[in-house]
C-alpha cells in the first residue's frame, strides 16, 4: 500500500485496553516529523506513602499489600524487608524459603495472566481472551489452570490467594502442613506439561524485532536469580547497595502524567522480566535457559517486545525452583517458629524485591515503633520514560503503515511492558498557585 513519505498521523488511544490501570497514548506526526509522543498516565493518585505515616510498624506490610491485587505479595515482601532492615530483624532460613516460594506464586500468577490473556490475543489475531476461548479453548483452560495453581500456592504458604495475611515482621503466623506441601509438589510436577505447551505456543508468536539500546536495571545476587534482596545492578555496568536506590532512580515529574519518571545513566531505563533476564541470565534454571533458546532470547536483548518471552522463561524458572524449594522444605520439616522480634524500635531501612514488573523499593523511617516516613518506588514508574522513548524511536520507522497498524504497534509496545498503572500513581504533589 503506497502512502506519502511525509504523512500527517494523529493517534489518540484513550485508555489502552489489556493493561492494568488507565493510560492514554498520544502521538502527533506532522509532515513526517514526530512532534508529540506521550504516554499519559491518568490514573488517580492513591496516597499510600502518606497512609503509612503514624501507623505501627507491623501494619505496613498489610496496608501496602493493598496497593495492588496482582503484586500484593511483592509489596508486602518489600515492605517487610524495609521494616526488618530498619529494626534489626534477621529472618530465619525457614522464613526465607517460605517467602521465596510464596513469591513465585505471585510471579507465576501475574506472568501467566499477562502472557496468555493480555499479550497473546494480539498475536493470535483476536481482540481479547473471549474469542481466543472459542478458537483455542485448551489454551485458555491451560492458562486458567496454571493461574489457579499459583493462587493455591499462595494460599497454602501465606494464608490467602491475594494479600499474604500470614506474613509478618520477622516471619509467619501460619504454616503449611506437610500434606499441603506434598500436594503442591505433585501439582507443580504435573504443571511441567503445561510449561512445555506454553513454550511451544509462544515459539509460534512473531515478536516484532524493534530494537533500541537501553539500560537495564535489576537486583543481583551472587548465587541465585535474585527476587528478594541483593544489590542494584545495571547492564551499563555498576552496582549499588539498596540504601543508595535514589542514586539510581532519580525520580522526576512530567506535566502530562500523574505518575513520576526515572532515569539513571541514560535518559531512561527498563526494569522487569527482560531486565532481570539480561542481568541474571547465568543464574537461570537450566530448563529456563532451554526455554530461552527455544524462544530465540539471549542476553543482552534490547528488544522491548521480547519482555513477554522473558516472562515465559521466568515462568519455567519459577515452577522448577518452586519444586526445589518445596523439596527442601519437606526435607527440613516445617517448624512452627515465632516471628523474630525487632532488636530496636527506631531506624531507617530499604527493602527491595523483583516483583513481576521489575525492581520495587520500599523505604521506611520508623521512630519508637511508628512509621514517620515512607517512600515507595514502583517498577512501572521506572519504565514509563523508557516506554515513551521506545515509542519515539518506533513511530518514525513505521510511518508507512496504516494508522490502525501504527496504533496497534504502539498499544502492543505498551502492553509488552505489562504496566501496572494503579501501582505507579501513588503520589501527587499538589501546588496551589
Amino acid at each position: 500500500m503506497a502512502a506519502t513519505t511525509k504523512p500527517n498521523v494523529s493517534i489518540n488511544v484513550h485508555h489502552v485496553t489489556r493493561v492494568e490501570g488507565h493510560g492514554n497514548i498520544v502521538v502527533d506526526v506532522k509532515k513526517g516529523v514526530l512532534e508529540k509522543c506521550d504516554l499519559e498516565i491518568v490514573e488517580t493518585p492513591r496516597f499510600f506513602e502518606a497512609m503509612l505515616r503514624g501507623r505501627p510498624y507491623d501494619q505496613s506490610s498489610h496496608i501496602t499489600s493493598r496497593i495492588c491485587g496482582i503484586c500484593a505479595v511483592g509489596h508486602a515482601t518489600a515492605s517487610l524487608r524495609a521494616t526488618e532492615t530498619a529494626l534489626g530483624v534477621e529472618p530465619s532460613e525457614q522464613t526465607r524459603l517460605l517467602r521465596q516460594l510464596n513469591f513465585y506464586g505471585e510471579i507465576l500468577d501475574s506472568h501467566i495472566l499477562h502472557a496468555y490473556m493480555l499479550v497473546a490475543p494480539d498475536f493470535l489475531g483476536v481482540g481479547s481472551v473471549i474469542p481466543l476461548a472459542k478458537t483455542a479453548p485448551d489454551v485458555v483452560l491451560r492458562a486458567l489452570r496454571m493461574k489457579k495453581l499459583s493462587g493455591d500456592l499462595c494460599k497454602i504458604v501465606s494464608g490467602r490467594h491475594t494479600h499474604p495475611i500470614a506474613m509478618t515482621v520477622g516471619g509467619f503466623t501460619h504454616f503449611p502442613t506437610s500434606a499441603e506441601l506434598l500436594d503442591l509438589r505433585e501439582q507443580l510436577e504435573a504443571a511441567r506439561a503445561d510449561l512445555d505447551a506454553t513454550v511451544e505456543l509462544f515459539q509460534t508468536l512473531d515478536f516484532p524485532a524493534f530494537e533500541r539500546e537501553t539500560e537495564y536495571i535489576a537486583l543481583r545476587q551472587d548465587d541465585e536469580y535474585a527476587w528478594i534482596d541483593g544489590v542494584i545492578a545495571s547492564t551499563d555496568g555498576g552496582t549499588w547497595p539498596l540504601e543508595q536506590y535514589r542514586d539510581v532512580t532519580n525520580e522526576y515529574m512530567v506535566p502530562h502524567s500523574t505518575a513520576k519518571r526515572a532515569k539513571n545513566q541514560r535518559e531512561s531505563y527498563m526494569v522487569g522480566a527482560l531486565a532481570r533476564f539480561n542481568v541474571n541470565y547465568d543464574l537461570l534454571h537450566p530448563q529456563a535457559k532451554k526455554a530461552a533458546a527455544a524462544l530465540n532470547l539471549a542476553p543482552v536483548c534490547h528488544k522491548p517486545y521480547m519482555v513477554t518471552a522473558a516472562q515465559v522463561v521466568e515462568i519455567v524458572h519459577a515452577v522448577e525452583d518452586s519444586i526445589r524449594l518445596t523439596d527442601e522444605l519437606l526435607e527440613r520439616g516445617i517448624e512452627w517458629e515465632e516471628p523474630v522480634p525487632p532488636s530496636r524500635l527506631s531506624g531507617e531501612g530499604v527493602g527491595s524485591c523483583e516483583v513481576p514488573r521489575g525492581i520495587l523499593f520500599h523505604n521506611y523511617n520508623i521512630e519508637d515503633g511508628i512509621v514517620v516516613g515512607a517512600n515507595c518506588i514502583i517498577p512501572t514508574n521506572q519504565n514509563l520514560q523508557n516506554i515513551e522513548d521506545d515509542m519515539r524511536a518506533l513511530v518514525p520507522t513505521i510511518l508507512d503503515r496504516t494508522k490502525d497498524d501504527i496504533t496497534l504497534a504502539l498499544e502492543m509496545l505498551v502492553r509488552a511492558y505489562d504496566p501496572c498503572i494503579s501501582c505507579s500513581t501513588h503520589l501527587l504533589d499538589v501546588k496551589f498557585v
Binding site: H15, T17, L113, S128, I130, P137, L144
Partner: protein, 156 residues
C-alpha cells in the same frame, strides 16, 4: 459421561456488610439436613476468572450473591442466567482483566463451552455494603426463605 453434580456457589465479600449474603446462605445450607447428597456447597468469595473452573463439570449451578436490583433491602429474586442483567466490571474482558467478576467468568465459561447446562442466580438486595462485618436485619430475615427456594431447585 454426563456430569451429575449440583453446585451452590455463594459469592461476595464478608467484610462488606450485606455483600456477605452469599457466604451466609452457604453456611445456612450447610447446617440443613434436607440438602440432596449430590450437592456441593462452595463459598466462592469475590469472583474472578478462576471462578469459571469451579463451575466446570457441574450439571446445575445455583449462584447466590447480593445484587443491586432496585428493590427494597432484603427483597430477593430468582433468575435464569439469560434473564439476569449482569453488569461487567471495567469494560469487561476487553478492558482490563484485573477486575474480572461474575459476568466475565460466565462469559469466559460460555466461550470455553464448559458452563453447566442449568445456571440459576439468586440475587438478594442489600441494605448496606459498607465496610463492616455482619448482615443487616432485613437480609438476615430472608435467609431461610432463600435457602428453602434453593433446596426446591436442587430437588427439582
Amino acid at each position: 459421561m454426563q456430569p451429575t453434580t449440583q453446585l451452590v456457589l455463594g459469592l461476595g465479600n464478608t467484610l462488606r456488610g450485606d455483600d456477605g449474603a452469599g457466604a451466609a446462605v452457604i453456611e445456612a445450607l450447610d447446617k440443613r439436613a434436607d440438602v440432596p447428597a449430590d450437592v456441593r456447597l462452595v463459598d466462592g468469595g469475590t469472583p474472578g476468572l478462576e471462578t469459571v473452573l469451579i463451575l466446570q463439570g457441574c450439571a446445575r449451578v445455583i449462584i447466590v450473591d447480593a445484587a443491586a436490583m432496585g428493590l427494597a433491602p432484603g427483597a430477593w429474586a430468582r433468575f435464569n442466567r439469560e434473564d439476569a442483567k449482569l453488569r461487567g466490571t471495567y469494560g469487561g474482558l476487553r478492558g482490563t482483566l484485573h477486575g474480572a467478576g461474575l459476568a466475565e467468568a460466565l462469559e469466559l465459561g460460555a466461550a470455553l463451552g464448559i458452563l453447566p447446562g442449568e445456571i440459576i442466580i439468586y440475587g438478594i438486595q442489600p441494605h448496606d455494603v459498607d465496610w463492616s462485618v455482619g448482615l443487616s436485619e432485613e437480609v438476615r430475615r430472608v435467609l431461610p426463605d432463600v435457602c428453602s427456594a434453593i433446596i426446591d431447585d436442587l430437588k427439582g
